[in-house]
Structure formats: C-alpha cells, structure tokens
C-alpha cells in the first residue's frame, strides 16, 4: 500500500495510474456519491476498454454516462440502468456488455471482496431467472446460491471530507456503494471536497478508515456535476 505520507496527490497523477483495460468500481447511487471529477479526469486521459462496476449508469451526459457515450466502456456490471437511455441503447446495439445483479447482491459481492472473503451463501432470487445457472450448495437442509466476491483493480470513490492519510466521511445518501468499493479494490482513489490534516476528523465519525485508501485528491464542489442532473423531481 501507499505510505500514509504519500497519499495526498494531484488528480491527474492519481488517475494516471489506471491503465487501458482496467476494472474500476465507481461509487454513487444516481448522482449522490458519484466521483464526477475523477470520472472527468479519466475521460480526459483517454483510458479505454474499461470494465466499470457501478450501481447504475448515471444519466445521459454526466458521470459514467460520458464514458459510455465516448465508447470507452467495454463492460458494465450494475443493478439498474433505467435512467440512462443512452446506456440502454448501447447495450441493445451490442456495443456495451451489461451484467445485471439485484442491487443488494451487487453490494454484497463487492463487500465480500472488501472483507477478504471469496463469496457468500444466499437465498435471494431462488426460483427466479436471476438464480438460473447459479451454483448452489445444500446446507442445513436448504439449497443456497453461491455468489462469488466481485473484485476490481481500482475504485473511484467520493467523500465529503477527508484527511491526507485518506480517512473519509460521507454525507447524506452520498455514502451508498462508496465505503464498500473502498474496501474491495486493489487501488482506491478517493476524491473529497475538502482534505485536511490528520486529526481534523472526529474519531467515531470516520466512515472509511484510511487503511483502505491509496490516493486522496481534493476537488472543487463547483466543478462537479453534482446537482446538475437532467432528472430533477
């Protein structure tokens, strides 16, 4: 792991570690928690043939929607892409390979990797097409589906605040998949609206301890797509 003393970086330098063909977990449920600035930097740097893992495909024109439109995503592992008609169209044209899991199963596959396991036993989806072809095991007189852990090379996560060791605090519903992905990926790049000196965050209020974070970058709230959504109700 990166030494604690070497984690606070410039955004271009942090994202430059990602090669073509990488698998990347991206935090966020809809807009909240989506690391828009890191995604925009990835778009600018040009990495391609990416496998993305994200709860959803954002909405057209923002977040990973931009990467999908630019043809940079080979595969998307997700739970729901209903709010991004462009992603649905790319899937239907065969240009984007989409793998769908129930949302809580996707979360737990990621958490399983993050906890250092190799999978878990579940009854979710038994009897539906979601479980078709899933490997099963009998235990305690019942059949259980085996859901393997989902790993990734990188994770891009968004936090409200951080310190330069990488301790993270999330806000409101911007937590969602971020803390899980922060544990699961080999290299974790966090963006935060504010990065302070160690000691600035309350001990008990830290959601992701710095042990999991490889790089932390500070991003301006104003340059984020946060709050500039197509869909506002």
């Amino acid at each position: 792991m990166t030494l604690l003393t070497h984690r606070y970086r410039a955004i271009d330098e942090a994202v430059a570690a990602i090669p073509d063909g990488a698998s990347i977990m991206v935090g966020g449920f809809g807009s909240p928690g989506t690391p828009f600035a890191l995604i925009d930097e990835l778009l600018a740097q040009g990495q391609r043939d990416l496998t993305l893992i994200k709860n959803d495909a954002n909405e057209p024109g923002i977040g990973i929607g931009k990467l999908i439109e630019a043809g940079r995503v080979r595969r998307l592992i997700t739970s729901h892409i209903g709010l991004n008609r462009d992603a649905i169209a790319a899937m239907n044209r065969g240009e984007l390979e989409v793998t769908l899991f129930p949302q809580g199963i996707l979360a737990e596959k990621i958490r399983s990797a993050g906890a250092g396991h190799h999978g878990f036993l579940t009854d979710i989806g038994q009897g539906t097409e979601i479980a078709a072809g899933r490997r099963e095991i009998e235990l305690d007189g019942q059949r259980w589906g085996i859901e393997p852990a989902l790993y990734a090379d990188f994770a891009l996560v968004h936090a409200e605040r951080a310190d330069r060791y990488g301790n993270l605090v999330y806000r409101a519903t911007a937590s969602n998949f971020n803390p899980l992905m922060a544990m699961a990926a080999d290299t974790v790049i966090a963006q935060a609206y504010r990065v302070d000196e160690p000691g600035s965050l309350d001990l008990e209020a830290i959601h992701t301890p710095c042990a999991f974070i490889s790089q932390v970058v500070e991003v301006a709230r104003e340059t984020s797509d946060q709050g500039r959504r197509a869909h506002v109700s």
Binding site: F29, G30, P102, Q103, G104, A107, E129, A172
Partner: protein, 217 residues
C-alpha cells in the same frame, strides 16, 4: 394525479400502522409519502441508504446529496439515519422493513409478482425490488387493475419473469383491495360504484367474494 390514484393512495395509507418502517417503491407508491403525516412516527426506508425520508416542503431547497431510490430530492424527519448500501440491504434481507408498497406488471393468485422485466421490450435491471419483495414482512401491491389496453394485471399465473415467488400479501388497485390467502384471492374492499360482476370481468384470477363482508373505498 387522477382521482382514482388519489383514492388508491388514501386506501393504501390505511395499511400503515404508526411506528412502522415502510419502503415505498418507485412510481405511484412513492406518492404515499404525502399520506403519512409526521405525527404517525413512521420511518420511510429508501434502499439507496436512508431511513426516515419525508417529501421536501414547498419551497425547501433541494440537498443534492439527499435522494430517494427513485432519484427525487427528499428531506428527513427526526429519528432518521443514513448508511451504505450493504447496511440498507441487510435491513431488507433481515426483514427489518415492516411493509413495502410496490407497483406491478402482473400479480397472481399465489402472490407471485412480476414487475421488473418485459423480455425484448424492457430490461433495465431489477435494482432493489427482488430483495424487497422476497424478504419484506408484508408486501402490498399498488397498481392499476388493468393495463392501458384494458388487459387484466391480476392473473391466474404470472407470465412475465418473476420478481419473487409467493411474496404478495395484499393488492390495492383502482377497482379492489384483495388479499392473497391459501384459498385464493379474497376481495376485501371494492371500489365505490363497481359491481362484483364488473370486478370479476376485469380480472383473470378467480376472486373469492363474501358480499356481506365487502368494504367500499
């Protein structure tokens, strides 16, 4: 919103007991929000990671970090908490949600539910619906009795891919309130002005009706 929908929502709101934890699915169920006043002490769960949602008051500035699972900007009430997706679905799978309201493409006599996929036409992913349907203590379906072409949605057997098997407790439509029972679909309430014969005509499933015990809504 149509008068029928308002009537359905008012009826559905009566399913909620003060002190319960409630999840509201995307679409019409979300509107139940407005039928649950603060003094009920009901906490609304949204699977993106919040317990204790309330609708924004008129003129209340949106908080860009605070949405429900449908993407609407919401606010919170006293006793609310926020958390990650693993925690949110742990609550669901551990049946800590007392009652969930969901829409449906099809429901059947056995309580099977189909509401996520129309093969070849609509398959954006199941989101959180499967775990909610399978694990909630009480699942109430809130949907129109017939589709826009007039075809029945309350079937003998679902034909679309299932969200979950034998998961539905009660169905609230514009035409009736029905319980899934071991004997079959039992009509609890029928819409004002509708006859039992008209209700049967609009329904594929067999309906059990005890006219003496039938409520109106």
């Amino acid at each position: 919103m149509s008068a029928d929908q308002q009537r359905m929502l008012a009826r559905a709101a009566r399913e909620v007991i003060p002190g319960q934890i409630v999840n509201l699915g995307i679409g019409l169920p979300t509107q139940l929000f407005h039928y649950l006043p603060d003094e009920l002490e009901v906490l609304v769960h949204s699977e993106n990671g919040v317990l204790g949602c309330r609708p924004r008051a008129a003129g209340e500035v949106p908080d860009w970090d605070m949405i429900d699972s449908g993407g609407a900007y919401i606010a919170t009430r006293p006793g609310a908490s926020v958390f990650d997706s693993a925690m949110s679905f742990a609550m669901i799978r551990r049946s800590r949600v007392d009652v969930t309201f969901m829409g449906a493409f099809e429901v059947d006599e056995l309580g099977n539910l189909a509401n996520w996929k129309i093969p070849g036409k609509f398959s954006p992913g199941i989101g959180g619906a499967m775990e909610l349907a399978q694990k909630v203590r009480r699942l109430v379906i809130l949907c129109s009795h017939n589709d826009k072409h007039g075809n029945p949605k309350i079937l003998e057997r679902c034909r679309l891919p299932l969200t979950a098997e034998r998961c539905v407790s009660r169905i609230v439509t514009d035409k009736a309130v029905m319980d899934v029972t071991p004997e079959g679909l039992t009509v609890v309430d029928i819409a004002e002005g509708l006859s039992v014969a008209e209700l049967r005509e609009a329904t594929e499933a067999e309906l059990i009706v005890d006219e003496n015990r039938l409520g109106r809504f």
